[in-house]
Subunit: 94 residues, 2 copies
Amino acid sequence: MIKVVAKSVVKKEKIEKYKKMVDELIEKTRKEDKNIKYELYQDVDNPQVITFIEEWEDHKSLEEHMNSKHFEKIVPQLNKLRETSEVNVYKKVK
Amino acid sequence: MIKVVAKSVVKKEKIEKYKKMVDELIEKTRKEDKNIKYELYQDVDNPQVITFIEEWEDHKSLEEHMNSKHFEKIVPQLNKLRETSEVNVYKKVK
C-alpha cells in the first residue's frame, strides 16, 4: 500500500469553484480498481489549503490513475485554480 | 473527526535515530483514549521526508495529546533532528 498526500494552496476567490470541480475526479477515481481511498480535506485554519489524502494498492495503480482520462482532463483545470501544489508519495514505516 | 498531517524534513544523518526515537511517542499516543490513528510514513523518493498522518476524535483530543507528558518530552527531542516541520489540521470535505 502507498499513501499520497497532494496538498494545494487554492486561489482565495476560486475555493468554491475548486471544490465543485473535484467532484467528477473523485467519483471516477474511487471507481478505479486499485484505488483504496481518495478523500478531500481542507485545513481548519486556512481554507485555501485543500489536500487529497489517497491510498493505492501499489505504484502501478497510482501511475495508471495519473494516465487516466479523468485525471488528464480535470487536473490541468484544477492547476489553474491553485497557487501552489506539492505531492508526497509515502510508504508506511510504523 | 479531524486529520493531522505533520510533515518533517529530517537531517540526513539523523534519519535512523529519528525513526527509533518516535517509538515511545507512537506507543503512548495510540493508547490515548481519543486517538483513532497515528501512523508514520516516509517519502519513497526522499527518505528525509518523514510524516505523521493522524486521526483524532475532535480538536480537544488533539489539544490533550499536545499537552501530554509523552508529547512534551519527546517532540522537543525530535525537533532537534528536523530541518523543517509543518503541521496541517484538516476536516474532511469529500
